[in-house]
């Protein structure tokens, strides 16, 4: 196995999933790159059993609600899934169709929304927009339940165009109003539970008598449009294909400026965006073919470490790598709060615009949390992923400081670091000489030293890149 094949596979798994340990990388690289892309796009592994989590956290079963329950539940899936791209796409759509507990305050409905992203995330975008327009959490989040034929509420109508499909600058204020009229009467109704305690579930409800059935003019088309007609027109717009392509590029390839800047700042790689947008249009708005083209492209393969990890990638990637968090132990609620400390509270984005990504993830407070979290996990030599590294180092026998550092950088990624960074790591390792495994005492000392150097590697700047 050449080290470059491993490095490329590590790149694919970091972006198309949440990273992978050495054994998985070797197995996937042996199978081949394109075959792995196919496995990611068409996952055949069993989905995570939702009931495993609920079995151990019966208090999380509906209808009780409290902040954080949904994100703990989702974190369990993020850590355990064997269908990594599917789950990465759930995160992607959660970034784009950002819906938050700050207002919805009903974790079960938020989880139902991300379940919808899991079901449809690699499917048809038009169908997903229709499902989104009927999604109870979204209807409540953007007040479409208050969008009446006699009193139009523009919240959903505006964001559908501005943040979910076309982007600012591609429609007029009149289009927003007409679009909103078409979605009047699209509302929610509660499902009364058998036991009247806590939150009721919601379901989509279309109230014909509350729908404004009049003629509307939207993006140059005129007719007695209902919501689905609006979505069909939206999907035909080249701006929508460009918008979706740019989102995918920003999420999977390289950091772009934030969404509000898109109307003013062209993409850094317009050719790549055009390629993705064309695939999207040609396939009739299917997402899977776009992902296939993206991951097999040179612009993707050449974008190693060109992105700052999101907090979810830091937390989930580190936990999956270090291991030991697969079982939904009592601390999982607190564990799930860590992405929030780094500026990304799952199921509770700051607003419907979602999170500002890339370098905007980094500020002094968030960087401190990112470093502290990764250093604590990777420096914990009892965790299975770290045990695996120790085992792999041990079979290499006595290791001079330089080889010790290089092996650790290789096994943790491979992680590419600047020569200056490597020099500091080597100097640090040199203070205590070569790594030896001859006696029980030496094994103890060396194990501790591996933990220490991994802690330091977790705090280097390069670890912040995906």
């Amino acid at each position: 196995m050449t080290s470059d094949k491993i490095a490329l596979m590590a790149h694919l798994m970091r972006r198309g999933g949440f990273g992978a340990g050495r054994e998985e990388l070797e197995a996937r690289a042996a199978k081949g790159y394109e075959a792995t892309v196919e496995d990611l796009v068409n996952p055949r592994e069993e989905p995570v059993d939702r009931y495993e989590f609920l079995r151990y956290h019966p208090g999380y079963i509906r209808h009780i609600t409290s902040p954080g329950m949904g994100s703990a539940n989702w974190l369990h899936t993020l850590i355990n899934t064997q269908r990594p791209l599917e789950e990465k796409m759930v995160l992607f759509w959660h970034h784009v169709f950002a819906t938050g507990a700050s207002k919805v305050d009903h974790w079960h409905e938020l989880v139902a929304q991300v379940d919808m992203f899991r079901e449809r995330g690699m499917g048809n975008y038009r169908d997903m927009l229709v499902a989104l327009a009927k999604n109870p959490a979204m209807i409540y989040w953007l007040d479409n339940c208050d969008n009446h034929g006699y009193a139009v509420n523009e919240n959903w109508g505006r964001e559908l165009l501005e943040l979910f499909s076309m982007g600012v600058g591609n429609y007029t204020e009149e289009d927003v109003q007409e679009c909103s009229r078409a979605f009047t009467g699209w509302t929610i109704a509660p499902v009364p539970p058998r036991i009247y305690y806590g939150r009721f579930d919601w379901h989509f409800d279309y109230k014909e008598e509350d729908h404004d059935d009049g003629e509307k003019t939207f993006l140059g088309h005129t007719g007695r449009f209902n919501g689905e007609d609006i979505i069909n027109i939206v999907c035909q717009q080249p701006a929508t294909a460009q918008f979706v392509a740019r989102h995918l590029y920003n999420f999977f390839v390289a950091d772009e400026p934030q969404v509000p800047a898109w109307s003013a700042t062209p993409p850094q790689d317009p050719e790549a965006i055009d390629t993705l947008a064309k695939t999207f249009m040609d396939s009739g708005y299917e997402i899977a073919p776009v992902l296939r083209v993206l991951f097999n492209s040179d612009f993707f393969k050449n974008a190693r470490f060109a992105k700052i990890k999101s907090p979810a990638e830091v937390v989930v990637g580190t936990l999956r790598f270090a291991g030991g968090a697969e079982f939904p132990a009592p601390g999982i609620g607190n564990l799930a709060k860590n992405t929030g400390y780094m500026g990304q509270e799952l199921l509770n984005p700051p607003s419907v615009e979602g999170w500002h990504t890339g370098v905007e993830w980094i500020n002094s407070g968030a960087l401190m949390k990112r470093i502290n979290f990764a250093a604590e996990m990777l420096g914990d030599v009892d965790r299975p992923g770290i045990q695996d590294i120790i085992g792999r180092l041990q079979v290499q026998g006595e290791l001079p400081p330089e080889e010790f550092v290089d092996s650790c950088l290789d096994l943790i990624g491979p992680l590419e670091v600047k020569p200056e960074t490597r020099l500091q790591l080597v100097e640090h390792a040199t203070e205590k000489g070569a790594l030896r495994w001859g006696t029980e005492r030496e094994v103890g000392v060396s194990t501790e030293r591996v933990g220490e150097i991994l802690k330091l590697i977790a705090s280097v700047r390069e670890y912040q890149y995906s």
Binding site: L142, D143, A375
Partner: protein
């Protein structure tokens, strides 16, 4: 410039989501107010009247007291021409003072650089909240971003103090600026070092603090408590920034808006009471703003995105009262159903920058604008 013995300090409290102007400073004397608000209305007599025309929202009692004491200025009709009704774009405009193109520098980022050009104090600006506000962003300007002052610190899980010192020393060298580094690497390096140094400075604040004031348990009161702790520790912080969100009241506005203003008003009252108790209020001015106001006519349950809004400026040095003109509510005077701004927000900023922080506003706000004279 107002003279104070100590360096002037600015606290910005951002009301995120678009605060409803008409139900905050209520034009209760105008029949058009009630005509436009069949559902989202403050019943006559409940407003806290400031004069025979306008009154504050009934849950703003503490702010009414500050107004009566002459320490609260209301700035009417704030906004910018051709107002944009997107939260994000509008907030960007307020943050960068660039309505016509995408700005990269925040107005307070530039102000912080002017206040401390040699970066002598890395806690000149302190932001409360998980992410950095664009208003504070400027290349090479450090901002300490704190969420919890009590647990702020790098690699605090290393038990041995000796070992931690060694690791932090290595960290310092790894994060040192390198020749030919790219922007993101340099930014990470600088942020990492500032995080480490800033934590060392800020962590003393809670230990030095004691107060008779019991802040409310609300998020905004707890943020302002953190601001007070750092201010009272005399660490030289000149700009504090925090926000309170939830003002996007498309639905169920009456209850939600009342709670928002109750929480904000009580938190501000706690904050200034605390500062006065420590004789540390006279060099602090607080600015409250929102990215836009809301539509004049309600939608049956809430109000949609609008245009002109209002700002509050609070402090011992503030000349209380009302500034500017409440925009006309007459149908013929509205634009797309919204109040038309008559005071550019950059004029409001200019007053704060020039007459409080002692800076030249023009290069910061990108032009010269009419300045309301509340300082």
């Amino acid at each position: 410039m107002t003279t104070t013995q100590r360096d002037p300090v600015l606290v910005v409290l951002q009301l995120s989501g678009g605060n409803d102007y008409l139900n905050t400073v209520i034009p209760y004397g105008d029949p058009l107010y009630r005509d436009n608000r069949p559902a989202v209305v403050i019943p006559e007599g409940q407003e806290l009247a400031l004069d025979d025309q306008v009154g504050l929202h009934p849950s703003m009692g503490p702010l009414k007291s500050l107004y009566d004491e002459g320490k609260l200025a209301i700035i009417h009709g704030v906004g910018y021409a051709d107002s944009i009704r997107s939260h994000f774009r509008s907030m960007d405009i307020w943050h960068t003072c660039e309505p016509d193109k995408m700005g990269t520098e925040g107005w307070l980022g530039v102000a912080a650089r002017e206040l401390d050009p040699r970066k002598e104090n890395i806690v000149t600006t302190v932001s409360f909240g998980p992410s950095l506000f664009r208003a504070l962003v400027s290349p090479d300007v450090p901002v300490a971003c704190v969420d919890n002052l009590e647990t702020y610190g790098l690699l605090t899980d290393i038990a041995s103090a000796d070992e931690r010192t060694k690791i932090l020393d290595r960290f310092t060298r790894m994060y040192a600026p390198a020749v030919g580094g790219d922007f993101v690497m340099d930014y990470l390096g600088q942020t990492g070092l500032e995080a480490m140094d800033g934590a060392d400075i800020l962590k003393v604040a809670p230990g030095l603090y004691s107060s008779d004031v019991e802040y409310a348990e609300t998020t905004i009161a707890q943020k302002l408590k953190g601001v007070a702790q750092i201010h009272l520790a005399n660490l030289g912080t000149r700009i504090f920034y925090c926000d309170h969100s939830g003002f996007d009241t498309h639905a169920n506005q009456l209850g939600v808006h009342a709670t928002l203003w109750k929480d904000v008003s009580e938190a501000i009252d706690d904050f200034f009471t605390d500062l006065r108790e420590h004789d540390a209020a006279d060099n602090v001015v607080m600015l409250l703003f929102s990215e836009f106001g809301r539509r004049v006519h309600d939608n049956g349950s809430g109000t949609d995105h609008g245009s002109a809004g209002l700002a509050f400026v609070i402090g011992e040095s503030v000349k209380g009262g009302q500034y500017g003109e409440f925009p006309s509510r007459k149908t013929a005077d509205l634009q797309q159903g919204d109040l038309v701004p008559n005071l550019d927000f950059r004029g409001l900023y200019s007053t704060v920058l020039e007459d409080w922080l002692g800076l030249d506003a023009k290069p910061i706000v990108n032009g010269t604008f009419e300045k309301p004279k509340f300082l």
